[in-house]
């Protein structure tokens, strides 16, 4: 057995060069066959579901914010902080995601408005992250290309655990916005944001920072923590659900492959988590067909599940499945979980994997 090379997760390094050389970058990916007529129906956009969900979302955010203000100083504030935090720090991620794809609403400006609000809540530069997410879809979990690999190998389990608190993300996101507001983009950022768009990323960072400075000024003027508890800090105390659901998207699965069934996971979830997550638990389906709006993903899942690994029945099941894989990756970073396909499925497309990795796989 030959030793595999260490992964270099920078987007301008050795892994990047290898991904481009081997054809892994911008490759053709496997898609389950779906008749054009059916896919057209699934891709159809409508404003209705997203308007309904957004009204519920806004009312719940404003209601829980009112509860925080009203019960400030008493223990009754706790449930309101819990709800507000999750809505602000977690559900904004799925709104950012869906509206970034432009699939949530049929009307473009509605997608754009929610996208920008959600980006602000997440402390994400809306320009930078639009491009990083495009790259994530082009080169999903391709080392050296994908800018959104949440858990790198070998996994840093302390870092992964701390992610639930939001501390690490906050510590990354805020300084990043400050740096960008001062006009500096990193080499990695420059590798996926086209030159003609880079100034827009700087402008967006300045707007975000202006709102944070204004919030701090109001907090000082009022001599109150309330403005900061409502704006900015939920990124700390409300991120846990985003991490809980989001980590499962790709963790412990293969990297450097061109078949989303190998590197992406679908997990059945409870209705509340699905509302918060806007059905992104159907993640294999989303990656294969990003044109399909969130509200049509359950239907798409039913249509193509014969060709996918069986979905994890719960988040608990998925984490139990992945935990031993992570432990093993601490010693053997090439190890990964290869989930079994049903007999009705077409075989995995793993040619790049076979070529590139000497890894062991768990089935």
């Amino acid at each position: 057995m030959t030793m595999a090379k260490k992964r270099d997760y920078s987007l301008v390094g050795e892994s990047t060069r290898r991904a481009i050389e081997t054809g892994l970058a911008s490759a053709e990916w496997y898609h389950t066959d779906v008749a054009r007529k059916t896919m057209k129906e699934l891709m159809q956009r409508s404003d209705g579901p997203a308007i309904r969900d957004t009204i519920i979302w806004i009312v719940a955010i404003l209601g829980s914010a009112a509860g925080i203000v009203w019960f400030w100083g008493s223990w009754w504030i706790v449930p309101f902080l819990f709800v507000y935090g999750v809505l602000y720090g977690s559900s904004s991620d799925s709104r950012w995601h869906e509206c970034g794809h432009g699939t949530a609403f049929r009307t473009r400006w509605m997608n754009d408005v929610v996208y920008h609000i959600a980006s602000f809540m997440l402390m994400r530069n809306p320009v930078q992250w639009r491009w990083s997410h495009a790259r994530h879809h082009t080169d999903t979990i391709i080392v050296g290309r994908d800018a959104e690999i949440a858990v790198m190998r070998p996994p840093d389990l302390i870092k992964a655990a701390l992610a639930f608190t939001g501390i690490l993300d906050f510590r990354y996101s805020l300084p990043t916005l400050v740096r960008q507001a001062f006009g500096t983009l990193s080499d990695d950022e420059k590798s996926y944001i086209p030159e003609m768009e880079q100034h827009k990323a700087v402008t967006a960072a300045r707007w975000h920072m202006a709102v944070y400075v204004a919030t701090i000024a109001v907090a000082i003027a009022l001599k109150s923590w309330i403005p900061l508890v409502l704006i900015g800090l939920p990124r700390l105390y409300g991120t846990w659900h985003m991490v809980l659901t989001g980590l499962l998207q790709h963790i412990g699965l293969a990297d450097n492959v061109t078949d989303h069934r190998l590197n992406t996971r679908t997990v059945y979830m409870n209705p509340i988590s699905r509302f918060i997550y806007w059905n992104m638990n159907y993640h294999v389906e989303h990656h294969m067909f990003p044109m399909v709006p969130y509200h049509a993903l359950p239907k798409l899942h039913e249509l193509i599940k014969h060709d996918l690994p069986v979905a994890n029945p719960s988040m608990w099941h998925a984490y139990r499945e992945v935990w031993p894989v992570l432990l093993r990756q601490l010693k053997y970073e090439d190890y990964y979980l290869k989930r079994e396909l049903p007999p009705t499925a077409k075989p995995y497309r793993g040619e790049f994997h076979d070529l590139d990795i000497t890894a062991a796989a768990a089935e």
Partner: protein, 104 residues
């Protein structure tokens, strides 16, 4: 110089839809708008190599299936990130139930 070729029959394309047409090593996308007019553009998205014929036609917009980049397929105008480069369009005419495009 004009070079008119037959791309498809009128009935090959549904209303508010698109099909792929390959010719001479090139790929085109042939559109039928909701008001029953025909249009043609290059077949690949200008952002990354994805067939626009797998995308979604909405009114006068074609949305790329890979990153949801949007173009006006009548003018080729890129409508914003992640597409920044306009799409090349081609003159189209309909003759005796056939869709002809000028690829010259």
């Amino acid at each position: 110089m004009a070079e008119w070729i037959q791309a498809c029959a009128v009935d090959d394309v549904d209303e508010e839809d698109v099909i792929r047409f390959d010719h001479g090593g090139r790929t085109f996308a042939i559109y039928r708008s909701p008001d029953d007019a025909f249009f043609a553009t290059d077949g690949y998205c200008t952002h990354e190599k994805a067939h626009l014929a797998d995308g979604l036609v909405m009114d006068d917009i074609i949305e790329c299936p890979k990153h949801n980049g949007r173009f006006n397929y009548k003018t080729g105008e890129a409508k914003g990130a992640p597409v920044c480069i306009n799409l090349k369009t081609y003159p189209v005419r309909v003759e005796a139930g056939k869709v002809m495009i000028d690829i010259g």
